[in-house]
Amino acid sequence: MKSLVCLKQVPDTETQIKVNPEGTGIVTEGIKHIINPYDEFSVEEALRLKEKFKEGEVVILAIGPDRATESIRTALAMGADRGIHVNDPAVNTADPFAVAQALAAAAKDVQYDVIFCGHRAIDDDFCEVGAMLAEFLGLPQVTLVTKVEVAADKKSAILERDIEGGKETVEVPLPCVVTSQKGLNEPRYASLPGIMKAKKKPIDAKNAAALGVSVEAKLQSKEYSMPPERKAGKKIEGLEPPDAAKQVVQALRNEAKII
């Protein structure tokens, strides 16, 4: 069972994000980065499939600057077999369209039964790469997947996906693109033997030229800004409840202008 796992490195959820003074992005210096949690579900699912079929390969494909190697290494320490690191300034911070183009180009040299993507990345929240990648590769895709059952002949899979208020079960021919949703599994921790082995596993570094793509971004980010700081609330004190209620209604109508 061969899986290609697309992985993005994102700021740790516990990091305090600051916008850089130019407003062109966030300050990345000094912050901790992690594997996008939805991609971590993907890594885990791919490892489980390989273990279940007792054969195959798990390849990690990531786009990002030098530090993205750390996240690939973490996935290798979890048990993945090898990594492909696309590191090119033209792609690293590009829009989902360009990222999907680069991923599709890199995927052409890899054999796979399934391509896993996180259903979204927790930093920019576009939720687009999986769908675009499937389109570029001409593959079917199933989004928000919480359960994967691959047929013994690896020609199809039964997938369970989240829908509003419930679950939908679908059958899909393989190969396909699956986007992982929370609930798919509990990702394992890297083991120490895994960490030692990860050091020796290959990570193939590539740039856009080597992939033979010239990416064309469709979006340009204009400005990054922080949400306005919450203003202090107003306290209505020292009144009987009916009078206080009147004041609240007046304040909501005249000051907040929401009723």
């Binding site: 210096e29 000094g30 750390e70 921790y189 960490i195 030692m196 050091k199």
Partner: protein, 601 residues
């Protein structure tokens, strides 16, 4: 529990910038390792701490272990964590490759232990005990013992313990009475009682392996008649099934803290069928056990540090959020209240916590580094690191344990009434940390070890080496205008320490052993403050270096915070050595002249 229980930045500062951990990878034993591997290891430990251990921290305190039908039921996390620790390779991390380990430096393993302890000290204790016990079998046991026990213990399926204490023999191990009767079958029959055995029986594993001290019938009196045995809860039948080995769990103690890990009372041989397997040679048990005890002593110091660290971050978080009062200089009641971190006295308490915690962490990792260097060097160099480690082990066990209690207490104080209530974790930290000056040799025992044994051994060779090490920090610090005043203070303190030592050893030379050792605990305290001051000067050097390298704004704040905490230590904690030195040299006998009658009423 607070959001943050440790600082990754600080841990890496100590490991890489203060101790230069990466230099270890030049030793052939560690040649497969690298900073990348250490970082990945710590990163994984932090994730396990945050996602696996911390969520059960309070629950394990509230759902204490219960003795049900002869077996101790523990929280379900124990089995999960033992399994993760086994499968993840944490239990045997430092062992050689051929023994199923990863040859990870002790320093890194200790750092990971710090993370686990800060997240959930009680849970962290189970694998730690198993590491020590399996290391003992690996070091001194026969091939057969190694083959049967070590793999199962490293996998986390079998728990390891150290079974020393008996009802009548706690600190005084020479008085143990558990006896081992030889048989013709190659094993001994064990009879006796053990108490206070941590993780001595529990539902989180399939078997428990006690590394137990006992006396072989007819052995010499005292410590020279003590032997070490492997005594399993269940033994392997020839057909490979596990059967009862006549080790009965008689009771579980109800403790004030550390409630997530049972401390048990065990009875061996009630039916005359408890088998023990001799480790190494007869009558050498205590010297073998010292390997585990010394490792465990550093482990205890680290656990105390980890609890103190978690408490520090909890009170720091609270101090930044809790509005109370106004700045002393502006008592205008119409102004909004300020968070209590704005009050100097609250900052004093926070600085106290930070100075104790980060100073202790640094000292313990320094000792771990000596352990790594001693284990993998030869000749004179090996002896140097062995002696330094021997000398500093009682200090690195006691200072964090004793001062950690005070540190958590100050943290609790910051929360005021909330600190005293179980809605916040401080009261649990306060209860949890109290065990540390007691187990693995009380502070009194550590003090006797330091003054009565370590300082004077080989004509003071260890102390001389230690002074050399401290001078390696003083010399460069004297060249730095910011650090110079502190380097001078430390230099002066070494003179004080020397004078106190000479004075006390003078009693020993005159044969007045009582007077020599009566105040050993105060001597240990004095020694500890100076040792931590040394570590703070090292941290000051590293922080200055960091500042000179043109750091980012955030990094600069980190280094400046370090320097400020160093200043705090030298101006608030360090002066205490003067009072201690005065007492230790004034020559007035008090505790030795006091007697029971004078305590009458």
């Amino acid at each position: 529990m607070a959001e943050r229980f440790m600082s990754e930045r600080n841990l890496k500062f100590v490991l890489y910038e203060v101790l230069d951990l990466e230099s270890l990878t030049k030793l052939p034993y560690y040649q497969d390792h690298s900073r990348e591997i250490f970082d990945l290891t710590l990163d994984t430990a932090i994730r396990m701490g945050r996602d696996l251990l911390a969520p059960a921290f309070q629950e394990m305190d509230k759902q204490q272990p219960q003795l049900v039908n002869g077996e101790v039921k523990v929280h379900s996390l124990v089995r999960t964590f033992m399994k993760e620790s086994g499968e993840g390779g944490w239990i045997g991390a430092g062992f050689p490759y051929d023994a199923g380990g990863q040859q990870l430096p002790t320093t890194v393993a200790m750092a990971a232990g710090f993370v686990f302890g800060a997240a959930n000290f009680a849970a962290g204790a189970y694998p730690l005990l198993t590491t020590g016990a399996s290391h003992l079998i690996l070091s001194f046991g026969s091939d057969e013992l190694r083959e049967i026990y070590v793999p199962q213990m490293l996998s986390g399926k079998w728990q390891g313990t150290m079974a020393l204490t008996e009802p009548q023999a706690g600190s005084s191990l020479s008085d143990i009475t558990t006896r081992a009767e030889p048989t013709d079958e190659g094993y001994y029959k064990i009879f006796g009682q053990k108490i206070f055995i941590s993780a001595g029986d529990h539902s989180g594993v399939d078997n428990v392996i006690h590394l137990m001290l006992a006396k072989i019938k007819g052995a010499p009196l005292g410590v020279k008649g003590i032997s070490l045995f492997v005594v399993p809860k269940k033994r392997l039948d020839p057909d490979g099934t596990l059967v009862s080995n006549d080790v009965t769990t008689v009771g579980v103690y109800h403790k004030m803290g550390y409630k997530g890990c049972p401390i048990t009372q065990l009875s061996m041989g009630e039916n005359g069928d408890c088998r023990g397997y001799l480790v190494g040679e007869p009558h050498k048990g205590l010297s073998y056990m010292f390997q585990m005890m010394n490792e465990a002593r550093l482990g205890v110091g680290m656990q105390a540090t980890s609890i103190a660290a978690a408490a520090y971050y909890a009170s720091l978080e609270y101090a930044g959020e809790r509005p109370q009062g106004r700045k002393i200089a502006t008592k205008d009641p119409s102004l909004p209240q300020v968070p209590i971190i704005e009050h100097a006295d609250v900052r004093r308490m926070l600085l106290f916590q930070r100075a104790i915690t980060e100073g202790s962490l640094s000292l313990l990792l320094q000792c771990s580094l000596y352990a790594d260097l001693a284990a993998h060097s030869e000749g004179e160099e090996k002896e140097r690191y062995d002696l330094l480690l021997d000398l500093l082990t009682p200090v690195a066990k006691s200072y964090p344990s004793e001062m950690g209690i005070l540190s958590v207490s100050q943290g609790l104080q910051i929360l005021g009434g909330y600190g005293y209530c179980d809605e916040f974790p401080l009261e649990q930290y306060y209860r949890d940390i109290r065990i540390h000056p007691i187990h693995e040799g009380t502070t009194g025992i550590q003090a006797l070890d330091l003054l009565g044994r370590k300082v004077v051994m080989k004509n003071g060779a260890a102390a001389r080496l230690y002074f050399e090490e401290v001078y390696q920090a003083i010399t460069p610090a004297l060249q730095d205008p910011t650090l110079k005043p502190y380097a001078e203070k430390l230099q002066e303190a070494l003179g004080t320490l020397q004078a106190v030592t000479t004075h006390l050893v003078g009693f020993a030379l005159k044969g007045e052993v009582e007077l020599f050792l009566a105040d050993a605990t105060l001597y240990l305290e004095l020694f500890g403050i100076i040792a931590v001051a040394w570590q703070w000067l090292l941290q000051g050097l590293a922080a200055q270096e960091g500042l000179q390298a043109g750091p980012t704004e955030q990094e600069a704040l980190f280094y400046q915070g370090k320097l400020m905490t160093m200043r705090y230590f030298y101006h608030y904690e360090f002066p205490k050595i003067q009072g201690l030195a005065t007492r230790l040299t004034d020559g007035v006998a008090v505790t030795t002249e006091m007697n029971r009658e004078l305590f009458a009423d």
